[in-house]
């Protein structure tokens, strides 16, 4: 099964990734305390269906600094965020880990298309589903109150957190 053998290219390890995850990001501070016990894997409902998604391996890869392998591939986007590993990890190493590594991938230019779409909709509508007149009509027929969209605060938050720049950058790359 040659294709399953994974060779680690020691010349291509990036300690900067370890630093970003363990020092610069509030939530994922604990990830280096992982003892590779496998509680996460045995608890993971995604691994159960698709063993290619293996949180223990992903954490180990991150702690070695395998940035390219992680941020350029789809595997980090398969976490369903059920938080079972976060809850059960005896080292409290999983808290914020997947969110942080996805943020790092995003900043490196690998924003997942689904989340790109979500950000665009949010920027315009303040919600992940647009509320149009037809929907409000359907709502009123059911006896539900009208919802008025207001994305003004959303836009300001996207400016503060520089999401707007992320989207601009992404669009300019696509042109």
């Amino acid at each position: 099964m040659a294709e399953n053998k994974r060779v680690i290219d020691v010349d291509n390890l990036d300690q900067g990734l370890v630093k970003e995850l363990s020092e610069e990001r509030r939530e994922s501070r604990g990830f280096l305390t992982c003892i590779q016990c496998g509680t996460c894997v045995s608890s993971c409902p995604v691994t159960y269906i698709d063993p290619e998604f293996n949180p223990r391996r992903i954490v180990r890869m991150a702690s070695l600094g395998m940035r390219d392998e992680l941020v350029s591939k789809g595997v980090i986007w398969l976490c369903s965020t059920c938080n079972t590993c976060v809850e059960r990890c005896p080292q409290d190493a999983m808290k914020g880990f997947f969110s942080s590594i996805r943020n790092i991938a995003t900043q490196g230019g690998y924003l997942h298309p689904t989340f790109e779409k979500i950000l665009e909709i949010l920027e315009e509508h303040g919600r992940i589903y647009e509320i149009d007149e037809f929907l409000n009509l359907e709502r009123s027929e059911m006896g539900l109150p009208e919802i008025r969209e207001d994305a003004s605060d959303m836009k300001k938050i996207f400016e503060i957190a520089e999401v707007d720049e992320l989207l601009l950058e992404k669009r300019s790359r696509e042109i």
Binding site: R25, R26, E27, P45, V46, Y48, I49, D50, W77, L78, S80, T81, C82, N83, T84, V86, E87, K95, G96, F98, S99, S100, R102, N103, T106, L111, H112, T114, F115, E116, I118, L119, L122, G126, R127, I128, Y129, I131, L135, E138, R139, M142, G143, L144, P145, I147, R148, D150, A151, D153, M154, K156, I157, F158, I160, A161, E162, V163, L166
Partner: protein
């Protein structure tokens, strides 16, 4: 206590049956509810930008605070993200200060006076099991229900403002029992429905839901009861597609918690939005002796 109803993005669009039943139930127990100008809770933004996700939650918490209310949410994802932000903001002074300087630009301020509550906890603790019990006029005797809690109501428990044990929760079971139905054990009750992956890897998401449905089916349920719009989308709205994909037949009706309570206190199916539930409820309603749904809306 006054509550601001936090519907989130999904319920008012895709699971309006859940929203409607929630409003009717809360009205029947005379709970003081208001609607505020909330935006997305932030949960869907976290994978792309943690800061924005956090500020969205903080903004919503501060808006409730400004209006002197607690937050009552019917969505697990909203509950999870708002609870997390609330916990971190109350816990960390410097984070609170820096966040306040940012949401100050929106004319808002967080000082930590708001509680984030899930509908299930408001029903169980604030309205109380006794009050509900006293109202049960149509007991669901002999009905077997699979209680599906979902994930973000329970985990990570450190952030949650409730005493639920994430590995062995009881609130949904106790609310089922109040209606005189039976909460049945089933395999995979703590497994994730995969809802968060539906827009990312549809095949994987549906395979995860199938896994849960298989476990539930083995326990011969009359219905699944859930407290999250995403779980509802996976089990109710997607059940037909999962059946087709895998050549299986489940036919398990899915009710949202307030729909189940509503039936037990004698509300009619239209008030509870049952016509929007996708998997047929005819057999279930016949079994509990309620008026059938047959009338087209």
């Amino acid at each position: 206590m006054r509550y601001a109803l936090f519907l989130g993005c999904t319920a008012p669009v895709r699971t309006r049956n859940y929203e409607l039943a929630t409003r009717k139930i809360l009205e029947s127990f005379s709970l003081d509810i208001i609607d505020l100008n909330f935006i997305c809770c932030g949960y869907p933004v976290e994978p792309a930008n943690e800061e924005a996700a956090f500020l969205m939650a903080a903004r919503n918490l501060a808006l409730a605070e400004k209006n002197g209310t607690d937050i009552l949410t019917i969505c697990n994802a909203c509950f999870g993200n708002l609870s997390k932000a609330n916990y971190l903001l109350k816990d960390d002074d410097s984070l609170r200060d820096s966040t306040n300087s940012k949401i100050g630009e929106l004319g808002l301020h967080f000082s930590g006076r708001v509680r984030v509550r899930h509908l299930i906890e408001v029903l169980r603790c604030d309205i109380g099991l006794e009050s509900i019990k006293n109202k049960v006029s149509h007991p669901l005797k002999g009905i077997r229900i699979a209680a599906y809690y979902g994930c973000h109501y329970l985990k990570p428990s450190i952030y949650m403002d409730h005493n639920e044990n994430p590995e062995n929760p009881i609130s949904l079971d106790s609310l089922i029992e109040v209606t005189k139905a039976e909460s049945i054990p089933f395999e995979g009750s703590r497994k994730c429905c995969g809802g968060a992956l539906l827009g990312i890897e549809q095949d994987l998401a549906l395979a995860m839901s199938k896994e849960v449905l298989e476990g539930i089916k083995k326990s011969t349920p009359d219905a699944i009861v859930t407290i999250c719009p995403f779980c509802g989308i996976m089990f109710d709205i997607c059940q037909g597609e999962i059946e087709e994909r895998y050549g299986r037949k489940y036919s398990i009706p899915v009710l949202y918690l307030p729909q189940m309570i509503g039936l037990s206190i004698g509300m009619d199916s239209k008030e509870l939005g049952l016509q929007m539930n996708r998997v047929s409820l005819d057999e279930f309603l016949a079994k509990i002796g309620s008026s059938t749904l047959g009338v087209p809306q």
